[in-house]
Amino acid sequence: MITLPVFFFLYHALVIVGLSLVTVSRRNPVHSVLFMLIIFFHIASLYLFLNAEFIAAIQIIVYAGAILVLFLFVVFLLDLRAEEHADKYSMSQPAGAVLALSLFAVLASTMRGFVLGPHGIYGIEKITEMTHTKAIGTVLYTKYLFPFEVASVVLLVAIVGAITLAKRHTKS
């Protein structure tokens, strides 16, 4: 039974999985980063499909706009010519394959245990009425305020740590 939504989801799922494989198998890291960019767009599109427009925009702004550009900077610092002639897989490839396949088997076996959870109060009607941004803000700053603040403190620690490390180098 392939209806339009199912077709839409299948397309995205196939493209995301397929491009993930392409991303990890490229010899040139810059090409990997570009394929990852396309994956991010498809993930954002899936969020849109779920009426989560705010998260879709943030997915592009934060992941594509900031984090992936950082990846690009790091990749630019590599010696790409040496990278292209190096062996595609490291010595531990067989061990990695066994590990990955067994993890996949474990995950696949738990698939049957999936139970559809109960619907929350934020259904499509409610989201369209109060807009997704407002809904997320309301939940984030009331129900989940404490975890949210804890997360920001953790991020602050990371920032301070990075600055301290960089400062130590400039002094010595």
């Binding site: 039974m1 392939i2 209806t3 339009l4 077709f7 040139n28 810059v30 090409h31 570009l34 960019l37 427009e53 705010f54 879709a56 925009a57 943030i58 592009i60 702004i61 594509a64 706009g65 900031a66 550009v69 690009l72 900077f73 630019f76 807009t131 997704h132 941004t133």
Partner: protein
């Protein structure tokens, strides 16, 4: 598969097709008008800068050089397309397309008058930020794929600059979002509408003067314009990231840059100068007229600055962004939020 086909030919799908056709029509109108404006903008720019420097500007092609854009476009079309040896061809080809794509998709959410935007979405501002960060990929990829030192340095400078100033720009608009209570560009513009003699009293440029200043400076940096045009500083980097591009591929970058200027100017107009609001009755032709006039004014500011101010050094650019503009924008958020609660 059968169900999919049935959905496609069911009675309701006819409305969907009509709807899609309607959206396509809007896209064609907006893109063709903007492309015409983009063709005229460099002419306007050369004239403005020329007169500011007591020259005439382009005068040869047509009366007062008005046909200069057509001559330039023809020249670019027929130039030889040079691809550097050892360049990464695929990325070299798609980089200008990505830049154009990032700039042109942003046009979709801009409300030209009260009820006209190709896509009137709830996250208009965020969409524009997302698309402008995509445009940065075109620039950095062009720099890398050209396999040239000048291009590479230009690309790195551009991406670092765009990422840094995007933070300041995003934060400067938070004040506007707080005041209007929406991320939808149409609603932001509607919140500033006013009547009568003091039609401009609700414009956010007055309560948000700090944010408007921060936004204007980051707008210049985001679009790589003077005084922040380090990525294409001709005395150091030849032409920066598009040094190796020629002919039509070069013109894609050129057009992308001007569309990005248009988009940024439109955001400035919508968020600080009241969008399509103005004196007189609130009818569509007048709304469009006010919007276009304000847009032209902000574009003129771009050119004015280019004719007036020398280029900054790169470390100065980064210092201004991180040590001045971002703290100012944060301060503005604190002040606006406090006033809003009181």
């Amino acid at each position: 598969m059968k169900a999919l086909l049935e959905t496609l030919i069911s009675p309701g799908s006819f409305d969907i097709i009509i709807n899609i056709g309607f959206i396509f029509g809007k896209i064609v109108i907006v893109v063709s008008v903007v492309m015409l404006a983009v063709a005229l903008a460099p002419y306007f720019e050369r004239k403005v800068i020329g007169h500011m420097q007591v020259r005439m500007g382009p005068m040869r092609v047509g009366p007062h050089g008005i046909l200069q854009p057509i001559a330039d476009a023809l020249k670019l079309f027929f130039k030889e397309d040079i691809i550097p040896a050892e360049s990464d061809k695929v990325i070299f080809f798609i980089a200008p397309v990505i830049t154009m794509f990032g700039a042109m998709t942003s046009l979709a959410v801009i409300p030209w008058w009260k009820s006209f935007a190709v896509a009137d979405i709830n996250i208009g501002i965020l969409f524009i930020f997302a698309m402008s960060s995509v445009g940065a990929y075109g620039i950095v990829m062009a720099g890398w794929a050209s396999n040239s030192k000048f291009s590479f340095l230009g690309g790195l400078r551009a991406s670092a600059q765009i990422i840094s100033y995007e933070v300041a720009m995003g934060m400067s608009l938070v004040g506007v979002m707080l005041l209007s209570g929406s991320l939808n560009l149409s609603e932001i513009a509607a919140a500033q509408a006013g009547e009568g003699l003091f039609f401009f009293k609700n414009w956010y440029i007055f309560p948000q003067i700090i944010a408007a200043g921060v936004f204007f400076l980051s707008m210049l940096a985001e679009t790589n314009r003077t005084p922040f045009d380090m990525p294409e500083a001709e005395s150091e980097l030849v032409a920066g990231y598009f040094t190796e591009y020629s002919g039509f591929r070069f013109s894609l970058f050129f057009v992308g840059e001007y569309i990005a200027m248009f988009v940024m100017a439109a955001i400035g107009v919508i968020c600080f100068l009241g969008g399509w609001s103005g004196p007189g009755p609130s009818i569509v032709p007048l709304q469009l007229l006010w919007f276009v006039l304000k847009l032209c004014f902000v574009m003129f500011l771009f050119f004015w600055i280019r004719a007036t101010v020398p280029r900054y050094r790169y470390d100065q650019l980064m210092a201004i962004g991180w040590k001045v503009l971002i703290p100012l924008a944060l301060l503005n958020i604190v002040i606006t939020a406090t006033l809003k609660i009181i």
